[in-house]
């Protein structure tokens, strides 16, 4: 027979167990601070990018705290690289923490979903994700994007190569089958068609793919002059490793349209990367005052050079904070008004937020990896071959912001 006291005691015990996460969070709730949510994959396949993104956001927050004299705090939200988890974390951050500023999202699928959630929830979101839809057909007033979309990435990475290698007539692509990859592939097809070059084949793969040898064998069979790799992050690194071990570097020119930056070079090593072309949103040697400052801050805090994930997150967080400070509040409409049309000294030189589609207009870079013997220091993996800006006209993006 169970006594009432025993029943109450056991119920209270169970309640305490369930309560502990909530109680812990209540205890750690911050006071009057400017809060910025950083929804990035901190666990899962893209955890490395998320870690650096978190570090970049912290630098931006510390810099802003010193500049504005108001405490700015970042809140890491682990998206696990999954749209559903990302949306839940953003919803929770808006409803539980009252966060209205978000900077993050590395994968396009999660960024698209988070942008919509921010729009619905009265918040603003800025991302470095690549899918054209973010500032194109799926654009909304609350979603901003710092990185160059697929059109610009392809134009700035393959046009210089076409000019430099006039005999490279046959191209083969390896593409992840989702919005980002499709965007890169379509832009590639357009450029190749315009230049009268041939796309001799394409291999699609899923976002969960880890084994690329079959696709590389298909590529070898078509005897291309250029292998253009259109995937990103860990998948891109796996593709490159397998391509080099198959001896493709000796048989054809290898181009990565959208490299994840310094961390990718560090992971792959100089010997593997030598001679490969990489399209890049950011490189730590860019000659601009804002970048020089970021390099200084990053070296001081983390004793290393900033990579793309860190730099992208830094500038996105900084833009959100600056807009909120300029607006004098984190109100959705006020922050949007402050961001739209903003021209500022960015990491890639003067950058501008195009008000018609919330796209930041900035440079994209083409790098060529150096030989290990030619590296001046441990991070001198590549030289910048070219840089420039290519953006679709607003009318062609499909974005209709009212």
């Amino acid at each position: 027979m169970i006594g009432r006291r025993k029943l109450l005691l056991s119920t209270a015990g169970a309640g305490l167990f369930l309560a502990s996460p909530g109680l812990l969070r209540h205890a750690s709730a911050a006071g009057d601070v400017l809060k910025v949510g950083i929804p990035v994959p901190i666990s899962g396949g893209n955890a490395a990018n998320g870690k650096y993104a978190s570090m970049g956001a912290i630098i931006a927050a510390e810099e802003a705290t010193a500049k504005y004299g108001r405490e700015v705090k970042t809140f890491d939200l682990d998206t696990e690289g999954k749209p559903a988890t990302a949306v839940r974390k953003v919803q929770d951050a808006i409803q539980q923490e009252g966060i209205q500023l978000f900077a993050g999202g590395i994968l396009s699928s999660e960024s698209l979903a988070m942008g919509k959630e921010a729009d619905k929830g009265g918040a603003n979101f800025i991302t470095t994700a690549g899918a054209d839809e973010i500032t194109g057909t799926e654009c909304n007033a609350a979603t901003f994007r710092w990185s160059v979309p697929t059109f610009g990435a392809i134009n700035q990475s393959i046009r210089p190569i076409i000019d430099a290698l006039p005999n490279a007539k046959r191209w083969y692509t390896i593409t992840p089958q989702y919005v980002f990859g499709e965007g890169l592939l379509q832009a590639t097809k357009d450029v190749l068609e315009e230049k009268g070059l041939e796309l001799v084949g394409n291999s699609y793969h899923s976002l969960t793919e880890k084994e690329f040898s079959g696709y590389l064998t298909n590529a070898i069979a078509t005897k291309p002059d250029v292998l253009l790799i259109l995937n990103f992050g860990a998948q891109c690194a796996d593709t490159l490793r397998q391509a080099v071990s198959f001896g493709l570097k000796e048989r054809m020119t290898i181009v990565v349209a959208w490299a994840s930056g310094l961390e990718q070079f560090e992971a792959l090593g100089a010997d593997l990367c030598e001679g490969i072309y990489f399209g890049a949103q950011y490189w730590h040697t860019i000659d601009s005052p804002a970048n020089a400052e970021l390099v200084k801050l990053t070296r001081a805090k983390y004793n290393e050079n900033p990579n793309y994930s860190l730099a992208g997150s830094y500038i996105c967080t900084k833009l959100m904070i600056d807009a909120a400070m300029k607006a004098g509040s984190t109100d959705q409409k006020a922050v949007q008004a402050a961001l739209k049309g903003m021209t500022y000294a960015g990491l890639t030189g003067e950058e501008h937020v195009r008000p018609e589609d919330n796209q930041v207009i900035k440079n994209y870079y083409l790098l060529k990896a150096r030989a290990k013997s030619a590296m001046a220091n441990k991070d001198d993996f590549a030289e910048v071959i070219s840089s420039g800006q290519s953006f679709l006209e607003v009318a062609k993006t499909g974005c209709k912001l009212s």
Binding site: P21, R25, S43, L207
Partner: protein, 323 residues
């Protein structure tokens, strides 16, 4: 039977969970997710615990349910109640097909078949991206509108989820206590004997699959409405693994064990992922501990504690009776 395993007490504990979650969790979304996964893990338990079928196919039904919600709510504007019925029926139909084919083989071959079906449906969803949105999934899935506008507040949707959870949990409890449920246990314990007695074993197993698939698909539809997205990840084999892990961690000896398993998984994942990026390692470790030392899961531990503190006399009586 221990008091805590009696159907009314099990339902009471489910009700207590529904009432307790809003008091102790700040996030209405997390609380709703706990209930949705509790429902799905209980449906998995119907197969694993009551029928002895280790299925890696639960993600199929979960994904289908979320796609039904995504497609019919965003493209055709079908009423929510009808979408939920459609998801449930489709889940039952596909589960019947998967179950009917998989139970042709036993043991490891059965497991491999369910895994193969899981991959098959994943690639179908991936291939027919016009319908499913491919890797992007389907976005803008609305929450129900029960006359007072869409349930944009997470806690108002929680009430909707909680009612669904309690009704379906009660129905599953009823099923486990019925002749049907007892026959499933007979099949699990000794399939040859059950067949020799004259039970149509395959029909019972297929029916268990159908019920499990129906409830799982219903949960998938609820999840899509909760998050507003029906992603490809829902139909991946990883989702099936996650559901199985929740079920195993909770324990497979009672339906409420699955609620404990789902709650432990979801809440720990939420807390640990903020603390340590490699939190999945801890989850793996927990699974190893359960497999080695807690084969009846967390519920088995609770049963032991219950006997130790509250029903020691009953346990002694049982031992004496055994002597």
């Amino acid at each position: 039977m221990l008091l805590i395993n009696r159907p009314l007490v099990q339902f009471g504990l489910a009700l207590l969970t529904v009432l307790a979650l809003p008091l102790f969790l700040r996030s209405g979304i997390l609380a709703s997710e706990v209930l949705i996964y509790a429902l799905i893990a209980a449906a998995c338990n119907l197969l694993l615990g009551y029928t002895g079928l280790l299925s890696f196919g639960q993600g199929i039904f979960f994904g289908l349910g979320s796609y039904v919600a995504g497609i019919f709510l965003t493209r055709y504007g079908v009423p929510v109640w009808m979408v939920l019925i459609m998801a449930t029926l489709l889940g039952a139909a596909v589960a019947t097909l998967v179950g009917w084919l998989s139970i042709r083989r036993q043991g490891v071959y059965f497991v491999m078949l369910t895994l193969a079906f899981s991959q098959l449906f994943y690639f179908l969803a991936y291939t027919f991206s016009d319908l499913t949105g491919g890797d992007n999934g389907l976005m803008d899935v609305p929450r129900p509108d029960l006359g007072a506008g869409p349930m944009n507040n997470a806690w108002s949707f929680y009430i909707f989820v909680a009612v669904s959870f309690l009704v379906l949990f009660a129905l599953m409890l009823q099923a486990t206590q019925s002749t049907f449920g007892r026959t499933l246990i007979a099949v699990r314990d000794n399939e040859e004997r059950a067949a020799a007695i004259g039970f149509p074993v395959k029909a019972f197993k297929t029916a268990a699959f159908a019920i499990s698939g129906a409830v799982t698909a219903y949960g998938g539809a609820l999840k899509a409405m909760l998050i507003g997205v029906a992603p490809l990840a829902n139909i991946e084999h990883h989702t099936s693994e996650m559901i199985l892990i929740m079920t195993i961690i909770g324990g497979s000896t009672s339906l409420f064990a699955s609620v404990i398993g789902a709650a432990a998984y979801m809440i720990l994942a939420d807390v640990l992922s903020q603390i340590w990026p490699r939190w999945l390692l801890l989850l793996g470790l927990a699974l190893v501990c359960v497999a080695l030392f807690l084969q009846k899961g967390l519920w088995g531990l609770i049963e032991k504690l219950w006997v130790m503190f509250f029903q020691k006399d009953q346990s002694l009586e049982k031992k004496e009776a055994e002597h």
